[in-house]
């Protein structure tokens, strides 16, 4: 590494990751800099590939739910819900409306926790630790609510194939409403801070701007897209669970810079608070679960859910047995990663962590497949890898 610096004087590359204080998860970025200005950026992912998709094939439908829920620690409910919705569609099961509404409720609480978490992380990347401490302190409110609602702070496992496990009691409903009202007031304050704090604005306004055209070309999703004026939200385009009964208002911004992403995410919080109120007010009565068969009818389907970071996508294929035949997951971070590379060039090195945090990356959930290529650039197949291992063992 040191020689590379000496020899390659023209191209001074600053590596960020796989281990770096700015990244809480492994990813590797190489920024070519000229002084402090970034002139090129590349990204390499795949450090946290866990082989979950393959592992699911050897588990039954119920066991898979809990493995898939652990794809992401922040939006675990989203993954479980996407999977359940897909499998229920395959099985042709009718999920009771109360269960669907509770799914929406947990999903929105999760969005609140995820956005508040992001607010803190992004502020920390900018070097505004006070905002980081405060927003995480307030986030504790929603974590506690989720804990008393579902029984755990992360990996809520509120879902079960065919419904949900936990019900809303009147006590819980009033606790949630109280917590949400407190958070609404705090979020108003944070919105005020990120739009008026002069010093903070110097780090966000006009930084990492992505125009609507670029956003559309790169196919970015979620709040990152909405901050660039791209109206894209699965909750509105293809309402799932109970979103048809509880319509969502889209939050858009035009500027496409970091400030817009702050504004969009915080305004989405207000939308979530409103939805939580609405769901609790109009919670349909009825059952929580419907019975699901152990074997799911053969067939294939896709299932899409708006995660806090954008669209989560599942492809589910069944061959009629106890186990899924194939499950393919695509998480929003993968779609948004291109925008980091596209917007990085021309900015200061100091802005890189901010731009990176701007898409709210979640590395371990986006690391799905690794393509291994040999020295000649040809794709290495699973079988040849196996052969290699056997040969290697024999040589020993």
């Amino acid at each position: 590494m040191s020689e590379a610096v000496v020899q390659d004087k023209k191209r001074f590359v600053v590596p960020i990751g796989p281990q770096h204080p700015a990244l809480k998860e492994p990813g590797h970025f190489e920024f070519t800099v000229d002084g402090e200005i970034v002139t090129g950026a590349t990204v390499r992912l795949g450090y946290a590939h866990r082989g979950i998709e393959k592992a699911v094939e050897s588990r039954n439908w119920t066991q898979s739910l809990y493995l898939l829920e652990r794809i992401c620690g922040i939006c675990s409910h989203v993954h479980a819900m996407t999977y359940c919705l897909g499998v229920e569609k395959l099985a042709g099961a009718e999920v009771p409306p109360r269960a669907q509404a509770i799914r929406v409720l947990v999903a929105e609480l999760e969005r609140v926790h995820s956005h508040l978490l992001w607010l803190g992380v992004a502020a920390h990347e900018a070097g505004f630790d006070t905002l980081f401490m405060y927003s995480w302190r307030d986030r504790e409110t929603v974590m506690d609510l989720l804990e008393s609602f579902t029984g755990n702070r992360v990996n809520y496992s509120a879902n079960i194939l065919g419904g949900v496990k936990c019900d809303v009691t009147p006590d819980l409903a009033s606790a949630i409403l109280k917590g949400v009202d407190f958070l609404e007031e705090r979020s108003r304050h944070y919105l005020n801070v990120v739009t008026t704090d002069e010093v903070f604005l110097q780090r966000t306004r006009g930084v990492g701007t992505m125009s609507k055209e670029v956003a559309e070309r790169l196919g970015v999703v979620g709040p990152t897209a909405r901050a660039s004026g791209v109206a894209r939200d699965i909750r509105i385009e293809a309402p799932y669970a109970a979103y048809a009964d509880f319509p969502v208002q889209i939050v858009l911004a035009e500027a496409g810079d970091l400030e817009a992403r702050f504004v969009v995410r915080i305004k989405e919080l207000f939308e979530s608070y409103r939805l939580i109120h609405e769901v609790i007010d109009k919670l349909p009565p009825g059952e929580l679960q419907t019975r699901m068969p152990r074997k799911i009818k053969a067939g294939e389907t896709i299932s899409r859910v708006e995660a806090p970071r954008g669209e989560a996508f599942y492809f589910i294929k069944s061959n009629g047995s106890d186990n899924p035949e194939r499950i393919k997951v695509r998480t929003p971070t993968l779609c948004n990663m291109g925008s980091v590379v596209a917007t990085a060039v021309g900015h200061q090195l100091a802005d890189m962590p901010m731009i990176l945090a701007g898409i709210d990356p979640c590395f371990s959930c986006n690391d799905r497949t690794v393509a291994v290529r040999d020295a000649a650039g040809a794709l290495v197949t699973w079988e040849s890898l196996r052969q290699r291992r056997l040969a290697h063992q024999e040589n020993k």
Binding site: V5, H20, P21, A22, A123, G127, D129, A350
Partner: protein, 307 residues
Amino acid sequence: MDVLKTLFILLIFPGGLFVLANGMVYEWADRKLVARLQNRVGPRWFQPLADLLKLLAKEEVVPESVNARLFVWLPIVALAGVLTGALYLPIAGLQPSYSFSGDLIVAVYLFSMLTLCTGIAGANTNNRFSLVGATRTLTQLFSYEAPFLLAMLGPAVAAGSWKISDIMAYSSTHPVILLQPVGFVIALIGLMGKLEMRPFDAPEAETEIVAGALTEYSGRGLALFYLGRYAELIAGLTLMSAFYLGGIHNQLDYIVKTLVLLLALAGVQTLMTRLRIDQIVGLWWRYGTLLVLLQWLVTLLLKGMVL
């Protein structure tokens, strides 16, 4: 006997160890204040000491690609510079151990040694984070140094002497903070720049360049740099209160005045976002220097009128 006494002054009291211990206490106070402002609990009182002991107990790794002698000596020089500078100051309300006319200039330059050594230390290694950090450290040094020095010289000009004790005598009889408010603010902010406190911590912005210039340092070397910074915190606070807050006459005076300053520093640290290096340079040269020059003009005019 005389040699022993001098050594005692230099190494133990009021120089050397005493300054360091004092520095650690203030470092703790700073961390605690920031923590409380952020609604956290903050560290226990022995935390800086514990950090130090831990670092001293650790292995010091000298990277392959560096000039090893420079690598080892830089932290020592840095610490020695700060400690020497501190000898000319009325630390803890005691008489400065040494004093001569013009000691202000010497002291201020000795305090810059730390930053300079940090910069060179970063440039000495081949680590890319260190190199970027070193560039930033030195850039920042050049941007705040001139205004800071000018701001420190403001009271000196008013007092008509470049000897620290003379200036202190002057500031005891004149409300310097009211006469030169701009100088005070600039000196305070300059001190934050010197200590690389937020919002001027771009040279060691952890989310960008890990630990900046000191990334490759570990163990003893890092501990010495930290000690240097603690001592500089004390020195800066003492200098500020001596010049702008009406001098330091006894221990209580010292504690109250420096703590008030520390509270102000902690407040700015909590309220600010880290500035980018280009923004820092712009800030200093566009506003800092001009304002402090303006202040000088006013001071000189006032002086001319009084005389």
